[in-house]
C-alpha cells in the first residue's frame, strides 16, 4: 500500500472552467476517495422570486445557466402554467420543442469539444465549436440572442418562426449533421481517443440507479430513462426512443451524447414536418395560486422545478434541482480506482455545470 496524500482539485483548474472542488485522496497515483465541496458561485436567484413578479422572473431563471438557458426558462413557465392550469397552443409547444432540441444540439457539440480539449485534442475541440456556431446563428436569427433567448413567456412564446425559416433551419441542420459525422467518427473510432475513454470510470447499472444519476450519465450505464418520454411540450407527438449504452464508462457516455446529437436533429425534422399553424400564446389573467412540480430533460439530465404561489404576483417559493447536483454522487462512485490524470476527464463526463447547481 502506498502513502496516502490529499490533493485539492479545483475550484480553479486548467481543464474545467467550472468551480467544482474535490479533495482527492490518493494512494500513489490512484484515487481512493474524493470529498466534493460546492458553493463557490452561489447567486441566490431562487430568493429573487420574492422580489420580481412571476412574469419578470422568467428572465431571471433563464440566467441560471448559460448553456441550457432555454430549457430553464421553459421549465419555469411550465411550472407557472401548471399552477394556472393553462393549456398553451400547439404551435407554441412545437416551437418550444424545436428550441429545446436545438439547445441540446449546441450543448452536446460544446461538450464534445470540451471533452476533446480535456484529452488534449485541440483541433477536434475547435472543429466541434466551429460546427456549433451554425446552431448559435439559428438562435440569433429566430430569437434574437445567441445564449439567452428570452423567448418563452407564461402562456406561450414571444416569437414565431415562419415556415420558410423552419425549412432553412432543417437545411442548416443537414449541413451540421454532415459535418458532425466526420467529427464524431473520431470520438467513436479513433484508437488514441479510445485509449483514454474505454474502461475508465465505470459506473455500473445498479450504482447508477442507487446514487440517482440522471441524463447521459445514467443512460450510459444502461438505464433507459429519458424524461422527454413523459410527453411534455410536443414530445408526446414525436417518435423517438431513449438512447442507451451498456458499458457505463467514459466511452459509453460519449457515445450516448454523440447519438443524442443525431437524435435531436431528427426530432427537429419531425417537429418541422408536424408543426401546426395557429396562435402562439394565450392570455394570462390574474395571479397564480397553488403549487406545482415540473420535470424536464435537459442536455445534462433531469431537472426538477417546484413553485408555490399564494395568489399575489410574487411566488412564495421556487426551487430548481439541477442535473449536475444529482450527478455529483455518481462522479464520486466513478473516481475510486481511477488515475489522477483521468480525474478531469471523469469530472467532465458528467457534464458539470456548477453555476446551475448553485444558482
Amino acid at each position: 500500500m502506498g502513502e496516502r496524500t490529499i490533493i485539492p482539485f479545483g475550484p480553479q483548474h486548467p481543464v474545467l472552467p467550472e468551480p467544482l472542488h474535490l479533495d482527492l485522496i490518493l494512494e500513489d497515483e490512484k484515487v481512493v476517495g474524493a470529498v466534493p465541496s460546492i458553493g463557490f458561485v452561489h447567486r441566490g436567484l431562487e430568493k429573487l422570486v420574492e422580489k420580481r413578479d412571476f412574469h419578470e422572473m422568467m428572465y431571471v431563471i433563464e440566467r441560471v445557466c448559460g448553456i441550457c438557458s432555454f430549457i430553464h426558462g421553459q421549465g419555469y413557465v411550465q411550472t407557472i402554467e401548471g399552477i394556472f392550469g393553462l393549456e398553451i397552443p400547439d404551435r407554441a409547444k412545437f416551437l418550444r420543442t424545436i428550441w429545446a432540441e436545438l439547445s441540446r444540439v449546441h450543448s452536446h457539440l460544446l461538450w464534445l469539444g470540451l471533452m476533446a480539449d480535456a484529452y488534449g485534442f485541440e483541433s477536434l475541440f475547435m472543429h466541434c465549436w466551429r460546427v456549433r456556431e451554425k446552431v448559435l446563428d439559428i438562435f440569433e436569427e429566430t430569437t434574437g440572442g445567441r445564449v439567452i433567448f428570452s423567448v418563452c413567456k407564461v402562456g406561450g412564446v414571444w416569437k414565431d418562426i415562419d415556415n420558410e425559416t423552419l425549412k432553412r433551419i432543417v437545411e442548416v441542420l443537414n449541413v451540421v449533421e454532415q459535418e458532425s459525422k466526420a467529427l464524431t467518427d473520431v470520438f467513436i473510432k479513433d484508437f488514441t481517443v479510445q485509449k483514454r475513454t474505454r474502461g475508465v470510470g465505470v459506473l455500473s447499472y445498479q450504482d447508477a440507479i442507487d446514487v440517482g444519476a440522471v441524463g447521459p450519465t445514467l443512460r450510459g450505464s444502461g438505464v433507459a430513462m429519458d424524461l422527454r418520454k413523459l410527453g411534455y411540450a410536443a414530445y408526446g407527438e414525436l417518435n423517438f426512443e431513449p438512447i442507451v449504452e451498456k458499458d457505463g464508462d467514459c466511452y459509453a457516455r460519449t457515445i450516448v451524447r454523440v447519438r443524442e446529437l443525431y437524435q435531436s436533429i431528427d426530432l427537429i425534422r419531425q417537429c418541422v414536418s408536424k408543426i401546426p399553424d395557429g396562435e402562439i400564446e394565450v392570455k394570462v389573467k390574474g395571479n397564480p395560486k397553488g403549487e406545482y412540480v415540473s420535470r424536464l430533460e435537459q442536455p445534462r439530465g433531469q431537472v426538477v422545478y417546484y413553485g408555490r404561489a399564494n395568489g399575489t404576483k410574487y411566488l412564495e417559493r421556487f426551487r430548481v434541482r439541477t442535473p449536475t447536483f444529482a450527478n455529483i454522487p455518481a462522479l464520486l462512485k466513478m473516481l475510486p480506482g481511477a488515475d489522477l490524470a483521468d480525474v478531469p476527464l471523469l469530472a467532465l463526463t458528467i457534464d458539470p455545470c456548477i453555476s446551475c447547481t448553485e444558482r
Partner: protein, 120 residues
Amino acid sequence: MAFNVIGKTVMKSLFGKPATAMYPVIKNEFYPNTRGNIEVAIDKCNFCGLCSRRCPAGAIEVSKPDKKWEIDRTRCIVCNFCVQVCARDSLSTQRHYTVPMTDKSKRISTSYGQTVQEDA
C-alpha cells in the same frame, strides 16, 4: 483510407476558405431579430413608466414630471421585456450591441421629452 482522409484535409486546408471570420475587415451582420442596444423614440413616449416597473434588472428610470427616460447600460440585460410591454411602441432594440465602456460615468444614457428641452 487513412491517407485519403489526410489528403482531403490537407487539400481543404490549403485551398479552402478560412474557417474564421475576417472580423475587423468584414463586420458581422446582424439578423433583423437580433436584440441589441435598447433605444427610445422619445417623441412617442408618454412616460407611463411601465418599462421601468417591468424591467427585471431595474435598469430603467422614468420620471413623468421631468419627462425623463433614463437607462443604465451596464444594468440592462437586453431581455427585451420593456420593448414588448411598451404600449406606444416607443422602445426598440437596435441592430448592434451596446458599445463596451471603460468609463463608468458614461453608463447612463438619458433622453428628455420635448417640453422639458424647450423650458431649458
